[in-house]
Every structure is written in C-alpha cells, then in structure tokens.
C-alpha cells in the first residue's frame, strides 16, 4: 500500500518578484504589485514592500500570509529594541534579526523569499538576500520570487564585479548612480513581466537615502 499524502497544504504561493540594488549612498527596493494564487489574480495592487525601520526596508515574495506574520513579528521586535536602546535598528542589525526569526521556524518555515534593503551605519547602501529558513548574505543586488530566474542573470551581466578571485577586492556596491539603478530596475521588471505570468500589473519602487524614502510607481503589462 503506497503512503497517503495530504490533500491539503498549509502553504500557497502568491507569486510576484522583488529586486533590490545597493548604491554608494542609496538603496533601491522594487517589487511588482500582483498577488495571485494558481492561475488566478487576487489583486493587482498589493504592496510587497514594507518599511521595518528608518534605514531598513523589507520586500518579500512567496506566501503573503506568512510574509504578513513575519512583518508583524519584526515590527514588534523593533519596538522592543527601540524601548531598550533608545534608537532605531540599523540595517545590518535588522538583517541578523530577520535571519534569526526565520531560522526560529526552521521546522515549519515562513514561506517567504526576502530581500532586505537599506543603508548601513556608514550611510552606504546595503542589500541582504535570504532563503526561506534564514540563510543570508550581504550583496550589491538581488532578486527573489517568481521572476528571479529571469532577472538575476541579467543583473549579473550588468552589475557583477569581474571575479571574486580578483585582487584588489571589489566592493559589493554598485557603481551606478541612483537614476541609472532605477532605470535598470524598470527595465528588468518590464522584461520579466513579458515571460513570467505571475509578475505584472504595477511596479512599486522605493528609493532609500539618508534624508528619507521616495516611492515611485510604474505601470506594467496586465496580462
């Protein structure tokens, strides 16, 4: 007798793509606004970007119920941190907290594919990319979600430093200017939207700088 498997899954994938690019004094975090389930669209206007602290913004694709729960936990933890330390959490600190929070549920994970973007203690842009159980790395750019396989190779082509073996060591930060980074993001999303059915509708772009956060919205194909 073959083993019976569950007909019910606690997870669902709501699709979507998230991208972040770090600059010398800015960070661009972008995500599409389509939320889907299976082949159906649930919303054309759902934001996957969430500000956690003044200098740390999280963008997550995957199962949005888990993403919401994760955001709530991080928000509460941030409040406690502020009470105890009298200041906001820095982006690297938030990065570690996110990793620990994800690993805490190692045996029933948050189905969330995260990209954390922000400014580090020196004011330089930083991007941290995660898997579902908290393994993370500081990088200069990253893409997660349904369109990531289409976007990541292109970002590598445009932004990747020649070789990690090359000396002197290259910075993970992009040499692009802020406007060039924003244009690049718009380009990759427009391309990903063409071939990935789960990406489209609108593109939300958040630009984080020392003096504040700016948000831009661009239309994407709706089919």
């Amino acid at each position: 007798m073959t083993k019976q498997h569950a007909n019910w899954s606690p997870y669902d994938n709501n699709g979507g793509t998230c991208v972040a690019i770090a600059g010398s004094d800015y960070c661009v975090i972008a995500a599409d606004t389509r939320m889907s389930t299976g082949y159906s669209i649930l919303s054309r206007d759902y934001s996957k970007i969430h500000k956690l602290a003044d200098k740390a913004v999280l963008s997550s694709s995957g199962f949005q119920a888990d993403v919401k729960a994760l955001q709530k936990v991080l928000k509460s933890r941030h409040l406690i941190y502020q009470h105890q330390h009298n200041k906001q959490m820095s982006c690297p600190a938030m990065a570690q907290l996110l990793s620990n929070t994800l690993y805490f549920k190692r045996f029933f994970p948050y189905y969330a594919f995260n990209v954390l973007g922000g400014l580090d203690e020196e004011g330089k842009g930083c991007v941290f990319t995660y898997d579902a159980v908290g393994s993370y790395e500081k990088v200069g750019y990253s893409a997660q979600g349904s369109g990531s396989t289409l976007i990541m190779p292109f970002l590598d082509n445009q932004l990747k430093s020649p070789s990690p073996l090359l000396l002197p060591k290259q910075d993970s930060i992009t040499p692009l200017s802020e406007s060039e980074a924003v244009d690049l993001v718009k380009t990759v999303f427009a391309s990903a939207t063409e071939r990935d059915i789960y990406t489209g509708d609108k593109l939300e772009i958040m630009i984080l700088k020392a003096d504040g956060i700016k948000t831009e919205v661009m239309e994407l194909r709706k089919d």
Binding site: K72, V73, K75, S76, L79, I80, H83, N86
Partner: protein
C-alpha cells in the same frame, strides 16, 4: 504609623481590617521625588523632579514611554517602576500585535492593578513599592490614572505623588477645573508650575525637571531643556516685573528669589543625565 504585631506578613490582617505591609509600601511612594500629571481633553502632561543620588551621578529616569499613546511617571522604588514599565510596554506591544490597534489605556491600568493585587495576597511576594501615574489617549480622549501598590487605581484630572507632592496637589486643586479646556501650552505651563511648588523655595531650573507630553496627533515625547526653560522664563519674568507692586499671589516670594538665578540656570546645565531621553 508604628510597628505592631500584624505588620510582618503581607498576608496578615490587622484586627481593624488593615494590611500594614501594603500601607508601608504606599509609604515608599511618598519617599520618592515628586511626579505630577495633568490632562486636558486632548493632551496629557507628565512632569517630574530630577533627583540625583549625589552631585556626581546622573538623575533617575522617572518617566517612561510605554507606546506612542501612553506614558508613565513613577515615584518610589524606581527599580520596581522600571520592571512595571517593561511589563506595560510588553502588554502594549502584544495588544498591537494581536488586535492591530493601540491598547486602550483603561485596559492597561486594570492589568497593572491586577498585577499589583497579586503581590498583596501571596506570602512569598511583597507589594511593588512604586506609584504610577499613567497618562494615555484612547478613543474617548485623554486620560490620567494613578496606580498604587495596593492594587487600586483611580482616574484623575490632575494628580501629584511623591515627596512634597501636597504642595503641588494644592496648586492643582485650585486650577484643575480649567484644565479640561486648556491649550497644550497652558497645560505644560501648569505642570511646570506644579513642579515648582514641590521645590518649596529651591530655584526652578529646566535641569531640575523632566516634562513629557502626549496628545491627539502628538505621540509621546519629552520636551527638550530649551523648551522647558522658555516656559520657565515666561512666568519668572512676569513675576520679576510685578515684584515692586503690592502683594500678588503665591508666585511673589519664591519668584523674586528664583528670578535672578533662573537666568544663569538655563545655560550651564547641558551636562544633565546622558540617560535622559
């Protein structure tokens, strides 16, 4: 209050129906430096006197932010106060997490009171030795509560606790009827004037008091030294001008002495507590 054979355990009643340990805990509140709270329909101001152990140390933190819409001022054993503030913050965060809305301050004080009551009915515990003035905002407006070690709580328009608080209470009793419609600025001024009453002759300087405010559209925050000094200057100067005229009010005698030093007081005292928020 004198020692008697019923005051050793908190779980022993006296023949006259009193719990002496609880009453002794309330005495501890009276030993702490003064804390004052007052409210209008839309704002709550909490103010306290900065007391330092010695000239070398920084002063005790007596006002804590619990949430954007709730603050607490304590008098008595500040360690107990710190622990209770942490509890209040935790309750507030948990409520926000579960209900996605701010914790109504009326609920918070009940939780606090229940927590205090437990300590009056367990032989292995002792009552908290701290009085809390909890100020907060909810849908029905601004509220001020006083939680005492006995586990009871009361709502007030204005109140003062700690040492020499009677002087402040007398001042507040005279003025409280107008507080409801007070402007934000008048409320702050009244709070600082009430603090001055507890100083009883000591010159009022901005370094001597900490003032915090919260209200509709205004999350809890502390006022900086400059703002406080400016408010002090407004009534110190007025009193100075009226100095020469015939008998005025309570302001007269103290203000005359306070006026001259107050000028110097504002500039030199930037070294106040690094712990002050």
């Amino acid at each position: 209050m004198f020692r008697n054979q019923y005051d050793t355990d908190v779980t022993t009643w006296s023949p006259t129906g009193r719990l002496f340990q609880v009453e002794y805990a309330m005495e501890a509140v009276k030993q702490g430096s003064a804390a004052i709270g007052l409210r209008s329909r839309s704002h709550v101001v909490l103010a306290c006197v900065n007391k330092a152990q010695s000239e070398l140390s920084s002063h005790q933190k007596k006002i804590f932010k619990v949430d954007d819409h709730i603050g607490v001022a304590i008098a008595g054993l500040t360690a107990d106060g710190r622990v209770l503030s942490r509890y209040m913050r935790s309750e507030s965060i948990n409520h926000s997490f579960t209900y996605e809305s701010p914790l109504p301050v009326g609920r918070l004080v009940v939780h606090l009171a229940d927590k205090a009551q437990v300590c009056t009915q367990r032989s292995w515990k002792r009552p908290y030795g701290v009085g809390l003035l909890v100020g907060g905002l909810d849908e029905s407006g601004a509220h001020l509560y006083y939680n005492c070690p006995s586990g009871s709580y009361f709502e007030y328009q204005a109140f003062a606790i700690g040492s020499r608080s009677q002087a402040a209470k007398t001042y507040l009793e005279r003025r409280f009827e107008s507080f409801g419609d007070s402007s934000r600025e008048d409320l702050i001024k009244d709070a600082i004037l009430a603090v001055r009453e507890t100083l009883q002759g000591e010159t009022l300087k901005s370094s001597l008091c900490t003032v915090s405010i919260l209200g509709v559209g205004e999350p809890f925050h502390f006022l900086d030294q400059e703002t406080i000094q400016n408010v002090i200057d407004t009534f110190e100067k007025v009193a100075e001008e009226e100095e020469g005229e015939a008998g005025e009010g309570e302001a007269e005698g103290e203000a005359a002495a306070a006026a001259a030093p107050a000028e110097q007081g504002g500039s030199g005292d930037q070294d106040v507590a690094p712990m002050e928020m």
